[in-house]
């Protein structure tokens, strides 16, 4: 930014038509020339990211070369499968619903998670709901996580999660993303298709994905776009209103949970601006002015962005080798 410009939401403005053209040309080249596959598999959650990726895939390759998957489990919101199906119908693609709840039960996902929750709240059981909320970093404290539970009567309690229980709950819920990706790759293998990953820039940059879960993919067509820009594309691509207006959730825990509660310091539109500002070396005071927060909080948010990048670097890394196998162009 030069000295006379001020930070404002317009920095995220996107020429949607041009961007759609750019991404779809790239997708054709990626699938045909680089990956040598015949089409694309897209898991549709009903959320804006997967819906936009699906729309772009259909624009690029046509509906006959895109296969959709709806992958609900026991904690999924009922609206996600409904919206996912609506989007698939709008695209005119073949799609299949595979409920992964039984698989997750068999592999112990819910049991490991609930055991860890009961270590903190012994009364937790049938009819209870739970979620995790992040705290600390945006206020200058060390990041930590709170476990929030809701009894069948509706009473809500929360406690800071000790490290062992936190890691166990995250590991258990990571099964969901990893099992979904296993199903996606099964269908990709049988169809000789490539698998789309759907992280937006905020998620990709800040490591908000599961290694070998939703982090696994053959191509990631919106990883360079801020969430705000993904919503702009959704409107441009004329996706259903419910997709274009829904707030980002994790759809992973049984209690409704925003992504900002779980992982990010701010709601997505403010987080986008903070990330953009950080990337363009905008002074923290300018971010503070733009977001209506104090300078100290803006500085903590910048520090939190850097800290999350460092802490999640391993999620992006290829396996480490003792020495490179130089014959491979990887």
């Amino acid at each position: 930014m030069n000295g006379s410009a001020t930070l404002n939401p317009d920095v995220l403005a996107l020429d949607c038509a041009a961007e759609v053209e750019r991404i779809t040309r790239w997708m054709i080249d990626a699938v045909a020339q680089q990956l040598h596959k015949r089409g694309l598999v897209i898991a549709l959650s009903g959320g804006v990211d997967s819906s936009v990726c699906g729309a772009l895939a259909v624009r690029a390759l046509g509906p006959k070369k895109v296969f959709g998957l709806l992958l609900p489990e026991h904690d999924s919101s009922s609206s996600s499968a409904t919206l996912g199906a609506q989007v698939a119908e709008q695209f005119g693609i073949a799609y299949r619903t595979e409920h992964i709840g039984a698989t997750l039960e068999a592999i112990g996902c819910y049991r490991w998670r609930d055991d860890a929750i009961r270590a903190v709240f012994p009364a937790y059981g049938d009819g209870w709901k739970s979620k995790i909320a992040i705290a600390g970093g945006a206020e200058g404290r060390v990041n930590f996580f709170k476990l929030v539970v809701q009894s069948p009567a509706g009473d809500i309690s929360e406690k800071r999660l000790p490290i062992r229980e936190y890691l166990q709950i995250v590991a258990a819920t990571n099964f969901k993303q990893r099992v979904r990706k296993t199903v996606e790759y099964f269908h990709a293998d049988r169809l000789n298709y490539a698998v789309i990953g759907t992280p937006n820039r905020l998620e990709y940059d800040q490591g908000f994905f599961v290694k070998n879960g939703d982090g696994a993919a053959d191509l990631k067509p919106i990883a360079h776009l801020y969430k705000t820009q993904v919503y702009a594309l959704a409107r441009h691509l004329e996706l259903p209103d419910a997709v274009c207006t829904a707030m980002p959730t994790t759809d992973t825990y049984s209690m409704q949970q925003g992504q900002d509660e779980f992982y990010f310091a701010l709601p997505y539109d403010q987080m986008d601006l903070a990330l953009w500002a950080h990337n363009h070396e905008v002074p923290a005071a300018e971010l503070a002015r733009c977001l209506g927060i104090d300078d100290a909080r803006a500085a903590f948010i910048y520090a939190d962005i850097s800290a999350k990048r460092r802490a999640t670097q391993y999620l992006h890394a290829r396996p480490l080798l003792v020495e490179a196998v130089t014959e491979l162009a990887v």
Binding site: R141, V142, I163
Partner: protein, 83 residues
């Protein structure tokens, strides 16, 4: 009172450094700035302090001033044990 810094340094060396090359940090060095401990690591450190010294770290005590160097941890633990 036992040598708190020595005990915590030994824990950090064993749990995070594991005999690697990054083990040389001074008592006043910031773990965050020197990238000795990441965000998950701080949660492990908190559990170590709670179990070793038998006190509870309150949410509002999870701040760099209490946890982000051996000097800070030493002062924080001494205050908690006296309280």
């Amino acid at each position: 009172m036992e040598d708190i810094k020595a005990k915590v340094r030994a824990y950090i060396m064993d749990n995070f450094i594991m005999g690697g090359n990054a083990g040389q940090f001074k008592d006043a060095d910031s773990f965050m700035a020197q990238h000795v401990i990441d965000s998950t690591g701080f949660l492990e450190l908190v559990t170590f302090l709670e179990e070793t010294y038998v006190f509870e770290v309150q949410d509002d005590e999870m701040v760099p001033e209490n946890l982000d160097s051996l000097d800070n941890i030493d002062a924080y633990v001494r205050r908690k044990l006296v309280a």
